[in-house]
């Protein structure tokens, strides 16, 4: 099981930097992130190299944080590949709660991070369909 961290934050100057400073001070590498805002407050998703440690240090610093399970799929860096993935997900009635992606270092592939709602077997299903689903270890260190 792989996780990213979801952090509550007020939409005010300095709030985001408070988080990045904690990561920096604790030598935590931020691999990818997404930010959703509802005007006055928002939620930040953090994909880091060491989620356990990050969870603890954020909590120690009195931040409101929770772990959320993710599925990471590698797709080719070509037109239509993300569409193909989404097509398979919708065909199988899998709903996405949240999603973001980042290019991998080879430049030819990208990792798509998915928060999948109420579908415990999604990973198996995606593997079965021929998708390259990353293990937790790979997601954090790839």
């Amino acid at each position: 099981m792989a996780y990213h961290l979801s952090v509550f934050l007020e939409n005010n100057p300095g709030k985001l930097q408070r988080i990045t400073k904690i990561l920096s001070d604790n030598n935590i590498n931020l691999r990818a992130m997404s930010l959703a805002s509802s005007g006055e407050f928002g939620v930040m998703k953090l994909l880091v190299d060491n989620p356990e440690k990050t969870f603890e240090v954020l909590k120690q610093n009195k931040l409101t944080v929770t772990k959320r399970q993710i599925t990471a799929v590698v797709v080719d860096n070509i037109p239509g590949s993300f569409n193909l993935l989404l097509n398979k997900l919708s065909q199988n009635d899998i709903n996405i709660e949240d999603c973001y992606g980042f290019l991998l270092s080879d430049g030819k592939t990208a990792a798509i991070i998915l928060e999948i709602e109420n579908h415990p077997n999604a990973e198996q299903l995606l593997s079965g369909l021929g998708f390259n689903v990353l293990t937790a270890e790979k997601i954090y260190k790839y």
Partner: protein, 430 residues
């Protein structure tokens, strides 16, 4: 079952006889004070309890205006203690006690705690403030009188509170309801299992008006019974009325005070069962009797006999203190309505403040609520859903649409004593 069976089960007629007797004694003592010498100049005694309504009221302003010694009704050599309000908004209200007053008050506090189920083999942790505030010292004396092992920790330092609770197996705690909720965060942080690691069974909660929903939340969190305590420093302090094990209204000790409920506007005495302002006449005070003191607390008298057998009538949970009323664009709101609504939504946080400000000549009500690890699911949708739910349910309860703001855990001010939740930022000089 009973601390003072003969008093607690006294029949109604006898109670009324005792009360008439006591009121006449109190009038006599009161007239030795500067304030009542004038106020009661043409009254020496009353011939029946029906005549109480002919006596003049006493208000908090009277106490302030007679600062410092205007209400003292005995020689200074008999006075052994004073308690006082903080006096942030003018002269403080000062209350004097003789040795008899203190011992009587201790007995009353003991009676309250015994009524709720505390016994002399209990271990009692007092987290209320000691000092001029009556909450801590009042129950301290009562707990010792009852014979409990009393731990006078005082307020604050949550880790130490939990440490004492765990190591000495505290079974009874006296705590502000707002602090009980906050303390639980420390219990969780210290990874304490309330069922395995603690021995808590009873909490006395008071000194702040609180809702039934808040009591239930405290009972759930700690797996205990929480009993509502009512008192006010002008009368002595905690111990004036208390819940028995039926937890359905608070027995007001009618050998200690004579209660009336009056209409807030006309000040006419209301029949039992109708809600109005509680007015109390002390029955046994020596240093400082108070005649028909207007408490500013809103409640009603419950006349039906209580299943516990005590004959002293009950008052309903205090619904509000008139001083606390907020008027927003002409609508009257009591903070406890807001608390009740927030507490009834399990996914809402426990720490909040109410801010009132003006925008474009309109009053705005803003509720800031902390999002902490207990109520954060991790998605924006959940937060938005909670925001809408709070907005709708509060609108239904108070008739005003509030602005709901979510803020970081720990960002709202924390106070050691009674919690300050309402911040009125309107310009009052206009």
């Amino acid at each position: 079952m009973f601390w003072q069976k003969d008093i607690e089960l006294m029949d109604r007629e006898e109670i009324r006889n005792v009360q008439l007797d006591f009121i006449n004694k109190e009038i006599k003592i009161a007239k030795k004070s500067e304030f009542y010498k004038n106020k009661l100049s043409n009254i020496d005694k009353i011939s029946s309890l029906d005549d109480v309504k002919k006596l003049p009221f006493t208000t908090k302003d009277d106490l302030r205006n007679s600062f410092p010694y205007g209400f003292l009704a005995t020689d200074l050599k008999n006075v052994i203690r004073l308690h006082s309000s903080s006096g942030t908004t003018g002269n403080p209200t000062v209350v004097f006690h003789t040795a008899f007053d203190i011992s009587n008050w201790a007995n009353l506090s003991a009676r309250c705690m015994y009524t709720a189920g505390a016994r002399n083999n209990d271990i009692f942790q007092n987290t209320m403030g000691y000092g001029l505030f009556t909450g801590g010292i009042g129950f301290h004396y009562g707990a010792e009188k009852l014979g409990m092992l009393t731990i006078p920790v005082g307020p604050g330092n949550s880790k130490r509170q939990v440490w004492f609770m765990q190591n000495f197996k505290t079974s009874v705690i006296h705590i502000l309801p707002s602090y009980a909720l906050r303390l639980f965060q420390t219990v969780e942080e210290m990874k304490i299992d309330v069922k395995k690691d603690l021995n808590l069974r009873i909490a006395f909660i008071g000194a702040e008006p609180h809702s039934e929903e808040m009591r239930k939340k405290i009972e759930e969190l700690y797996n205990i019974k929480a009993f509502n305590s009512y008192g006010l420093s002008e009368i002595s302090g905690p111990g004036v009325a208390f819940e028995c094990q039926c937890q359905s209204g608070l027995h007001i000790w009618e050998d200690y005070v004579y209660p009336e409920i009056v209409d807030r506007n006309t000040l006419e005495v209301l029949p039992d069962g109708q809600e109005g302002e509680l007015v109390l006449t002390t029955l046994q005070r020596e240093a400082m009797p108070l005649i028909r003191y207007r408490t500013r607390d809103l409640t009603k008298i419950i006349t039906e006999p209580c299943a516990c057998g005590r004959t002293h009538r009950r008052i309903a949970r205090i619904t509000a203190r008139t001083d606390d009323m907020i008027i927003i664009n002409g609508v009257n709101i009591f903070p406890i309505q807001i608390e009740k609504t927030i507490m009834s939504i399990p996914e809402a946080g426990r720490n909040y403040v109410i801010e009132i400000f003006e925008n474009n000549f309109m009053d705005k009500l803003c509720i800031k609520l902390e999002i902490d690890n207990d109520n954060f699911g991790g998605t924006l949708q959940d937060l938005e859903k909670l925001q809408n739910k709070l907005e709708n349910e509060l609108k239904q309860e108070i008739g005003v649409t509030p602005i709901i703001k979510f803020v970081d855990a720990g960002s709202l001010p924390v106070s050691e004593g009674k919690v300050k939740r309402v911040f009125d930022l309107r310009n009052k000089n206009k």
